[in-house]
């Protein structure tokens, strides 16, 4: 359960609106169900009081929404940022994707977000309401009544391996500042590296063939803000899902992950939105792990203006042949 409540955030937003510091609020709006919270721009106190929510299902990272929203109207946009969101925020600033002056950022603490799919695995479908109570979530279902799940057991993957509870950007901070955490986020990547080529191929084939090419992973990604995309070119053979063939899947996923390599902050949004539950974070983390091992530790978004590893070099860099061996793991 979150330490900070929706009421506290509403109060903050309303006072900033009244003081004229901001003109609108980017926040989470109640959805049809308790778990499908929707990003929304609130313009006044009434709508905030009516629809603004903040709970264990507010995973959405708003940084990318700022790119479009800051261009729409005069005045500052208030945005609430969880610690991991602030990395994306900085990365977008580094890439000059929005005007810092057009934003008022409030850092908020986060206790980790719940993954509705994990809850459904335990309770089954037909969830009519979700209520957080301490370290439990009470789930009401239409088929067999009320059930309780442990919050810790339904924590989203990216929150289980959270890299930081520390905000790296804000104008104002609510609650206490956390620390950069020691996460085991590369463990799964290392397990795959330790497999044989054939096993890895089989693993990825089974994962990527589930992809329906909805492009949600691309659309949500805060590192991915081009206004024209190669995957929209009807002349390319990878504009849509190709049913006959698996090449399109691999092309899409390799290019998607590669073009954010060195800029991906590991925010985990891509895996969160994937309707097919493809572990996209493993592709991103492979790049991050390789970058750390080849060129030294680098965390995208940790500071504004840092130079991404792929637009940088040293004359002593590792050769591709050796890199591939090293990338296969100290395990190999």
């Amino acid at each position: 359960m979150q330490k900070i409540t929706a009421d506290m955030l509403i109060e903050k937003a309303v006072s900033l609106l009244e003081a004229g510091t901001i003109s609108r609020v980017l926040g989470w709006k109640k959805g049809e169900f308790d778990y499908d919270v929707t990003p929304y721009v609130f313009a006044d106190a009434e709508s905030l009081k009516k629809d603004f929510v903040f709970d264990d299902f507010c995973g959405a990272n708003f940084s990318k929404y700022l790119v479009a929203e800051t261009r729409k109207a005069e005045g500052k946009v208030l945005v609430f940022l969880k610690p991991c969101d602030t990395y994306s925020f900085n990365q977008l600033l580094t890439e000059h994707r929005f005007d810092r002056e057009a934003v008022y950022a409030v850092g908020i603490p986060c206790e980790g977000m719940a993954d509705i799919n994990k809850i459904k695995e335990i309770t089954g479908d037909g969830i009519s309401s979700l209520t957080s109570k301490g370290d439990k979530i009470v789930v009401d279902t239409i088929y067999d009544g009320e059930k309780e799940v442990d919050f810790a057991s339904v924590l989203a993957e990216r929150c289980v391996s959270c890299k930081s509870k520390k905000h790296v950007a804000y104008d104002e901070l609510m609650g206490d500042e956390g620390d950069i955490t020691d996460s085991a986020r590369f463990d799964e990547v290392a397990q795959l590296e330790a497999m044989t080529e054939d096993e890895r191929f089989a693993f990825w084939q089974s994962q990527l063939s589930k992809c329906i090419r909805c492009n949600a992973c691309r659309d949500i990604c805060p590192a991915c803000t081009c206004e024209k995309c190669v995957f929209e070119n009807p002349e390319s053979p990878v504009e849509n899902k190709a049913i006959s063939d698996s090449f399109e899947e691999k092309m899409f996923h390799i290019i998607r992950a590669f073009h954010v390599a060195g800029r991906c902050t590991d925010c985990g949004e891509c895996s969160r939105v994937c309707p097919q539950n493809i572990p996209l974070h493993l592709l991103n983390r492979k790049f991050i792990k390789d970058i750390n091992s080849f060129y030294g530790e680098y965390q995208a978004g940790a500071e504004v203006g840092s130079r991404a590893p792929l637009v940088d070099y040293t004359t002593e860099d590792i050769e591709p042949g050796e890199a591939v061996m090293k990338g296969e793991g100290e395990n190999a």
Binding site: E193, S244, T314
Partner: protein, 145 residues
Amino acid sequence: MQVNGEYKPLIVAFCCNWCSYAGADLAGNNRLAYPENVKIIKVPCSCRVNPMFILRAFQRGADGVIICGCHPGDCHYTSGNYYTRRRMSLLFSMLNFLGIEKERTRVEWVSAAEGAKFAATMNEFTEAVAALGENKRLEDLRCKR
């Protein structure tokens, strides 16, 4: 690639205009033999090679892809090949992570004076790819007739 029912590895070699392409030329002038199924694509600099080019080459039937550029420090555009080196290190490591045989991709620095190295590299690479058999993992059935 199948030619008359027989497997012949098709190699696509991206060669930079200033060093490696001239190296290939020199190999020719010196009558140094390298397999005829090495198809050279001339690029202004090794860093012109976008990851998409490599995937497209595999898609269209290549069994191996090699990128050749000037030696580090000698790039005609000063630093192009340093970027190539980083990009290809990460890309090839990713391809291997996806289970694509690491012997199918390579980067080699070949200067304009190294005709012999060019021929030897191509012979060796073609042999390595021949041993792997046809590229199945990055093929596109739509491109095969």
